[in-house]
Symmetry: C2
Amino acid sequence: MAIPRAAKTQRRTRIQEEKEEQILEAALDVFSARGFRGSTIDQIAEVAGMSKPNLLYYFRTKEAMHRALIDRVLYTWLEPLRAFNAEGNPETEIRSYIRRKLELARDFPRESRLFANEVLQGAPHIEDELKGPLKQLVDEKAEVIRAWAKAGKIAKCDPYHLIFSIWSTTQHYADFDVQVRAVLGQEHAGAGRFEDAARFLEQLFIGGLMVRPA
Amino acid sequence: MAIPRAAKTQRRTRIQEEKEEQILEAALDVFSARGFRGSTIDQIAEVAGMSKPNLLYYFRTKEAMHRALIDRVLYTWLEPLRAFNAEGNPETEIRSYIRRKLELARDFPRESRLFANEVLQGAPHIEDELKGPLKQLVDEKAEVIRAWAKAGKIAKCDPYHLIFSIWSTTQHYADFDVQVRAVLGQEHAGAGRFEDAARFLEQLFIGGLMVRPA
DNA sequence: AGATAATTTGACCGATTGGTAAACATTACA
DNA sequence: TGTAATGTTTACCAATCGGTCAAATTATCT
């Protein structure tokens, strides 16, 4: 009897591990490029290089693949915000948060687009995560920023909208990549655009937030 | 003989005008919420309150509806950037550009999401518009900003990334609305969030870009 | 009113969708 | 090596997809 996903045997076999990896890799490709509803199991199967029923042996439904992907990616994606350190120097912390988010956009654009697609379409599958863990984490870090402002270490500002603006500006380079490339043109759309973006964003945020000596 | 879309009679009838409007309104609802591939003609028909063949009488294909929508919305969407005035005061111009973009995000979130969905999925239908008219307009305005920086009216910065950052921060409130609401929670997710965002963004950009008297 | 053109609809089409059943092949382990 | 568990495939299903067609209905104009 074939029992998928190690329901009977506690340990996952080597094949299970490999194939699930292979499937999620393909699913990330397809889901991030076409959104959940726009993606088909056949497409994922083709990218993964295996038959559709074989995919469905490891993940019983299309939803299950998506769910597994979201779960896996969510943790990684919030890592930079988690690393935001209350004890650290505000300027350094903000600077490196921007850097880290920009690096994620550069190195993991598919993951960024997976979330963007999801949120854009009303977050039907991740609403709980947004209102739960995400909100908690942001609340916590917003409090840190508020404390910095109160202590006069940075300018007074709304910490939530500050976080939103760092999210949006950095993820823009992953989510709207084609637009960025189209506007920059071939000359300036090379790999250097991330370095240019980093320079600009640091200038913007540091210049806009740091209290200047009178 | 029924000839759709006024191929024979030059003038469009009253019914044609009304029905096409009705269809595009429904199509905007559906396309913006689910993306092109994730939307179905049946869904649009249901929202529009008419039968599927009736829709296809006015727009021969799903692509035609999408195309018509994009064409109609593109002009409106670039209006704020077009209004960007080289002769004006830099601070005032940037401030009102942010305001205008934020108002669009507040008043026309579906239009914003329509584009976001399209660009996010590789802009398969609007690549030409991005590389043509959009790039030209941005190039033109970037030159204005560059001139301001050269004249010492604002801080030296990359004008393209400045425009990108205004786009991303403002459209974030339309495209990622569910996330913004989830994070802000019920208390702060009310109508006032756009005013809060405007205040923060103006502070950020003006503070980050204006040259401060030494 | 009557004729003609414009509009609307139900029935239908082939292709594709997510998913299943069962036979077949392979692996792991005694 | 034998056998039971695991993994893979072919053939298929009902539902839905984008789109067509011809017939029926409504609007327009003389």
